[in-house]
Each structure stands twice: as C-alpha cells, then as structure tokens.
C-alpha cells in the first residue's frame, strides 16, 4: 500500500545567523533607528496582515490591526529578550490584539453566518471574467474558499488561532504555544478540536 508521507517543509537556515541578525535589528529599532524599524515592519507586515485577516476575517480590520500590532511592537520592543524568535513574539502580539478586537466586535455585532458571496468577495477576489461562463475550476475554488472561511469563522477564536498558526503559518507546537501563551498540551487539544470541527463543517467539500 502506498504511503503518502507528509514532509514538513523547512528552510535551511543557520539559527545562530538568524538569531544574531534578528537581535541586531531589534537593538537598532529599540535605539530609534527609523530605517531599522521600517525594515522590521516590511519584513513582517505580510505575515502580520495574513494572520490578522485569518483571525478576524475582514481585510480592513486586518489592516487596522496590523498597524496596531506594529505600534505595540515598537512600544514593547525594549522588553524583547530573545527568549523566542521575533516572529513568534510578534505573532503573540497579533493574537492578543486580534482576540481583544474580536471580543469587542462580537459584543457589538451578532455572530451571524456570513453569506457565501460576502465571504467570496472578502477572501476570493478573483478578477471576474466579463464572460459569464466562468471556468468551473475557478468558480469551484471560490465556492470552496467561501465555505472554508465560513467554517473557520465559526470556530471559537482559540481554535481558529491554533489552526491558522499551524496550517497556514506553519508554526511548530512549541512556537504556537509561545505565541498563545499556553502549554504545548493545550495547543494539541485545541488543534484536535479545531480539526474535528472543520472536518465536520467541510465534510461536503
């Protein structure tokens, strides 16, 4: 029987090189070097935005959150001691802010099922062909994406955070635990529940 082994893709990097370069960047930013700060933002902005988008489900909210996150990063950067990677540390700030924002947002707006069209418009903005007869594959992709994001949006925030960090951002259990401020066992249990919920929700896909 053929076995499809899953190989986790990793980049070949020298940890010491990465750590020292990262640490130098942090030091420069903490000292007020605007170029270094700009570099830090541009290096991580896409990652931050994507995570914010996947956690909040709204591009504008994700943009606002991204700015909020980087402002917070520069406020507390002097406290970064290198216990984790800079990326993981920033992830933690993103998750915390997204959690706060979402709690506020949920209180103001009722949790409702997002229509498929809106989900598709938010997450699957594929240039529409003027020809009404769109390729089936593209249409199916949009529909699937809409269902996936709808299912993701219905997950509790804690489960959504772990599944996004694991499956989309590719963080290890340890990194996820650091980002969320929980232990690895909690990561595993939340991941298991998230996957089960998504499996059920996307059964028809």
């Amino acid at each position: 029987m053929a076995v499809e082994a899953f190989v986790k893709p990793v980049r070949a990097l020298s940890w010491s090189d990465t750590a020292s370069a990262e640490w130098a960047l942090v030091q420069q930013c903490a000292a007020g070097d605007e170029d270094a700060c700009t570099r830090l933002v541009t290096d991580h902005q896409r990652m931050v935005y994507q995570l914010a988008l996947h956690l909040l489900g709204d591009p504008q909210e994700a943009l606002d959150l991204s700015q909020e996150v980087f402002l917070r990063v520069f406020q507390v950067l002097p406290q970064f001691r290198g216990q984790s990677s800079l990326r993981t540390w920033i992830y933690r700030i993103v998750v915390n802010h997204a959690s706060n924002r979402q709690r506020w947002w949920r209180r103001r707006h009722r949790a409702q099922q997002v229509p498929l069209d809106e989900q598709t418009a938010t997450h699957g903005e594929i240039a529409e062909s003027r020809n009404f007869a769109q390729p089936d594959r593209v249409l199916q992709q949009r529909e699937t994406a809409g269902l996936v994001w709808g299912a993701l949006d219905r997950l509790p925030f804690d489960q959504r955070a772990v599944i996004v960090l694991r499956e989309i951002d590719g963080l290890s259990y340890e990194e996820i635990a650091t980002s969320l401020g929980v232990v690895v066992g909690t990561v595993k249990s939340r991941l298991a529940r998230a996957r089960e919920n998504l499996r059920v929700a996307l059964r028809s896909v």
Partner: protein, 270 residues
Amino acid sequence: MKSQECRTQRLAEYVDGELSGTERLGVSRHLESCADCLEDAKALRRVGDLLRNAVELDPTPAGLDGLASGVISRTVAERAQSWKAVCERAVEDWHWFLVGFGSVTAAFVSITFVSAVLHFGPAPQREDSVSALLSNRDWQVKNSEGGGSLYVWMTPGGRNDWRIMLTGKERAEAAAEAIAQVPDALAGLTTEGDLAGALGDALNRTGQPIDVQAMDAGTRSLSEALLHQLTEINKSNRQKELQGDSAAGPSSVYRMQVVTNTEVSGKGYQ
C-alpha cells in the same frame, strides 16, 4: 496504538512533523498496514490543504504598502509625547527661564548670606563722633520712644575707673552746630583731660546720668561739642600712633557705649 484519541493525536503529530525520527518511523510503518489510520492521516492533511488553498486566493491589500511609513510616523509622534521627550522639550523651551530663575535664586542666596554676615559678623570700627556711632549698625537700639540712653565712659588721666558722663536718646544737633553755639565754653579746653573734665561736669553733676531730654539747650550743645572734640582728639592720637609718632599718647576715652532700656551692646574704642 491504544485509544482512538491517542491514535488521532499521534497521527496529528505525525502529520505536523512533530515526532522524532524513531517515532516517525514507527508511525510510518504502522500506516503501511493500517487503512483506518491512513485514512485518518489523510483527513487531517486535507483540512490543512483546504485552508492553504483558500489562503492562496487572499489578495494583497493596497494599504499594506503604506503600513511601514504610517507606523513609523505614528511611533515617532508617540515617542515625542513620552515623558522623557516632554521633559527634554520643556528644558529646551524653558531653559532661559531656568537660567533667569537660577540667577535670581543665586542673587537672593548671595544677598541673604552677605546680610547674615554683616548682621552677625564683627562690626567695623568707626572713629568718629557718637552721633556717627549711633548710625553704625553695630549698635542695637531697640527702643525708640522714651527709652534709650547714651553712656560715655571715660577715664580722664588714664585711670581705669569710669563715670557715667552722658545720657540721651539721640543726638539732636550736629556736632558743628553745637560747637558754634558754645564757643565761649570751649575756650581754653585744649587737652583731652580738659575736655573730659568739662564734659563730666556738664553731664554728671549729681552723680547720676542726666537724661539728655531734660537738658537745657545750652548744656546739650556743650555736651555735644565736647564729645565731638574728644572724638577728634582720639582720632588724631590714633593716626599719630599709626604713623609711629612716639610722642602721641593713648587716648583717655577708652570706651563709649550705648545703653537702651532692654539691651546693652558695647564696642571697644581703644
């Protein structure tokens, strides 16, 4: 693998690449022979694939281009509002005020210090008439109305005894004016002893100090004039002494003192 939950967890760790080499090998071998576990592993991987495929459709927002500059601008602005920055700016804006305030404070402290030294420190000697001595800050005359007496101790002829020669609150007449009024009385009084003796006679007739307010104008003028003459002689003797004139003798007036109703302060005059 034991329970379903353990099995699923183990598979999840396998799919996520969280197992060690030996553990991975074990699971991999198990999957070769277990269809159920293999199916579960595929299901786990499928959820991730669906998510990753959906993410690929996410467009890059245009707002992301200006994110860095916006964040940096706001951070710089917030740092400018920090307490440290506010204090630094306050010092920079108000440094002239601080310099002026410091100067005023320093001047005030200096003036206070000098005043204290002048007030509590040793007083300079004044070799002039009693009226000038009265104006010297060395004297402390606390009562201004109805009190205050001026005693002049003298030792005519070099003796150490003393006599109260004069009492009075203040010298109302200038010495020159006084001398002008009693020129006859001063005639013939040339030596210090003559002057001291005349002054004693004029002011201490009953052996008790005579209040200068009760004196008649003539006696008062005489007293003032004699006192002035004595002062001049004393001054002259001291000058000669300083110049090394061996013929100049010590002054007979060895102490002059002002006494008030409440306080006595003295000054050596020799």
